[in-house]
């Protein structure tokens, strides 16, 4: 605020500041500090996930691990901690694996096609202990628990891409179409049922969706399409689609109802039918929002853990078939972190996968926030 400073003749006047309200100041300061917690949290997440992945990126595991073990592992040694047994019920141990885990990752002879075996032989002399090179990371074999561990993330990239693709391919159209229906075709009473229904779907914990796929979707699809494996990329993708639908639906519906009603009326007045107005006028007008919905849906499908863990079969295979089992990034972290030795190369690479997940989700969100939403705001304000 600009003002000309004038000597105030009546300093004694009651509203000239006499007390600086300390309590108010302290509270205000606290609120401001806590208000920034979300920003701090983002940085902490990146920092600490990166920190555990760092030894890998710095090439610490090119030498034998004992020489350069990370701070944590030495600390936990001194603390007499045996982290490898903190979770006594080892996830996915091959002895107990029920039939859906038949193509077990820890059993390379099953999941590794013969073509790759040649490479396996080639890298044999390098792959000694926790030995990671860039070539190893970009390799096609994910075989972390072995005397000769291999950390090729290609099968995981393929697996994640496959399930995400299926999930979006199924979930996005369903979500968008249902939103269109709710916004333009549903009788009012029905509309008031559709929204809570989708909310129920959104309220399903992902472990329950995973359980459902594991029990029913797998067998149903196997009977239908004759897949070789009961749990595969397609089943996992459907499970993820169930998680994606509510997100796509909600955001699309929000955007559609934010488009000015006058636009619809104008279209109808020009003789367009309801469906033409919905598909040719309203949907394009809401396009940035729909696009944002799909991007966020991709983020969800990509990062979802429990569904992927339970419904994809979890085999790190390099294959193009949608009917083969796959192993995704997040499922790999979820399945293997529980039994890994803290500070080992395997541990670090799982954190490295986390860093990748973080980067992708951050990028997706930044794109939606900075480009899509801004554009939508402009469009809806008619600017």
């Amino acid at each position: 605020m600009e003002q000309v400073t004038t000597p105030s003749p009546a300093q004694k006047h009651s509203f000239v500041r006499k007390t600086n309200n300390i309590g108010e100041r302290i509270i205000e300061r606290c609120v401001k500090i806590i208000g920034g917690v979300a920003v701090v949290l983002i940085f902490l997440i990146l920092l600490f996930v990166l920190r555990e992945a760092l030894p890998l990126l710095m090439g610490a595991f090119s030498q034998p691990r004992t020489a350069q073990s990370s701070v944590e592992s030495s600390l936990s040694d001194t603390l007499n901690l045996k982290p490898e047994v903190y979770n006594p019920d080892v996830i996915l141990s091959e002895h107990q694996a029920p039939e859906e885990f038949a193509p077990e990752v820890y059993n390379p002879d099953v999941s590794v096609p013969a073509t790759i075996l040649a490479e396996k032989v080639n890298t044999r002399n390098e792959a000694d202990g926790d030995h990671i090179t860039l070539a190893n990371i970009l390799g096609t074999i994910w075989q972390p628990v072995s005397t000769m561990p291999k950390f090729g993330i290609m099968p995981l990239v393929i697996g994640t891409a496959k399930t995400t693709f299926v999930a979006i391919f199924i979930g996005a159209p369903l979500g968008i179409l249902a939103a269109l229906y709710a916004a333009f075709f549903a009788p009012r009473r029905l509309r008031e049922v559709i929204k809570p229904m989708v909310e129920i779907l959104a309220g399903f914990p992902s472990v329950v969706i995973g359980f459902f796929c594991l029990l029913y979707v797998g067998s149903a699809l196997q009977n239908l399409f004759g897949f070789d494996f009961r749990l595969n990329a397609f089943v996992g993708g459907i499970g993820l689609a169930i998680a994606v639908i509510p997100i796509v639906f909600t955001i699309t519906e929000d955007t559609l109802s934010a488009v000015p009603k006058s636009l619809l009326e104008a279209s109808l007045a020009m003789g367009a039918t309801q469906w033409e107005s919905a598909y040719k006028v309203m949907l394009p007008a809401a396009f940035p929002g729909v696009f944002a919905a799909v991007l966020l849906g991709i983020g969800r499908a990509f990062g979802e853990t429990m569904i992927a863990l339970m419904a994809t079969g979890n085999a790190a295979m390099v294959s193009t078939s949608i009917g083969d089992p796959v192993r995704t990034f997040s499922a790999t972290i979820g399945a293997e972190m529980g039994e890994v030795i803290w500070g080992s190369a395997h541990y670090s690479i799982l954190f490295f996968l986390g860093v990748l997940l973080f980067i992708v989700s951050f990028t997706l969100n930044a794109v939606t926030e900075l480009f899509v939403k801004e554009r939508l705001a402009k469009k809806l304000q008619g600017g």
């Binding site: 600009e2 003002q3 000309v4 105030s8 006047h13 509203f15 500041r17 309200n21």
Partner: protein
């Protein structure tokens, strides 16, 4: 009423208010007198509310608002950095167009201000509440239901409650922004009566679109037009013999 010596209570000096790039008030200079009712009139959007809200610095709440020039109350520049806005607002009460009782009991509404000032003694609070309600000509209507919700009062009662609430803080100035625009004629008459009563103690500035109301309650009238103060004079003069053409057009209703 004999002629009394009028003292300047509020003095604006080249006051300009901007909302972002838009200038809402242009170099307003005006003296408002103590224990008098001054009416602000003018077409919609001319800046009446803006001026009113710069007297108790409510415009500080508008992110884009910017003020230049000076505004003195009792000779103190209220936009000076040494001024405590919170204390200022305790001295300059405000009643809004839309009555805004808090969703609390009638008693708690009136006691809100005194409690802010640290008064917790029940008998003291009782006294202030009763006095304020009497001052606002509302006490008789609500004395049996002080503990019931203020939201159950009629529009006119709610507006008088807001006046009582403002009075309870013991200000020296009362700003009223179209206090009767949402009220029926009977409630309006009551509030007008109340204003005439209150001016014995308070300096009152009232914004109104109702010419008759301005004529009935105010001693002085200021006519604003497009952010400028066009004319400011005794009310009688403004309504019978204005010196500016625009003023005459407006008060005679020949205006849009």
């Amino acid at each position: 009423m004999s002629k009394k010596i009028t003292e300047t209570k509020i003095e604006a000096n080249d006051l300009c208010v901007y909302y972002g790039a838009k200038q809402a008030l242009h170099r307003i200079s005006i003296d408002l007198f103590e224990r008098e009712v001054t009416a602000f009139i003018g077409p919609s959007g001319c800046g009446k509310s803006t001026f009113l809200r710069s007297i108790n610095r409510m415009n500080d709440l508008v992110p884009t608002a910017r003020v230049t020039g000076n505004l003195y109350i009792d000779g103190v520049d209220i936009y000076h950095s040494s001024v405590d806005v919170v204390e200022l607002r305790k001295r300059v009460g405000m009643v809004f167009q839309k009555s805004t009782p808090f969703p609390k009991s009638i008693y708690d509404n009136v006691a809100f201000g005194p409690r802010l000032n640290g008064i917790t003694d029940r008998t003291e609070l009782d006294r202030i509440v009763e006095e304020s309600l009497i001052n606002a000509a509302l006490f008789d209507e609500v004395k049996d239901r002080l503990d019931s919700s203020a939201m159950g009062l009629s529009g006119g009662q709610q507006q008088r409650l807001c006046i009582a609430r403002a009075v309870a803080v013991n200000p020296s100035i009362l700003l009223m922004d179209e206090p009767c625009s949402a009220l029926d004629p009977i409630s309006t008459a009551k509030v007008e009566e109340l204003i005439l009563e209150l001016k014995k103690q308070y300096t009152i500035v009232i914004v109104t679109h109702n010419m008759q109301q301005a004529a009935r309650v105010s001693e002085y009238t200021a006519f604003f037009y497009m952010g400028h103060l066009v004319e400011y004079d005794k009310t009688r003069k403004i309504f019978t013999n204005p010196s500016k053409k625009e003023t005459e057009d407006y008060v005679t209703g020949r205006f849009g």
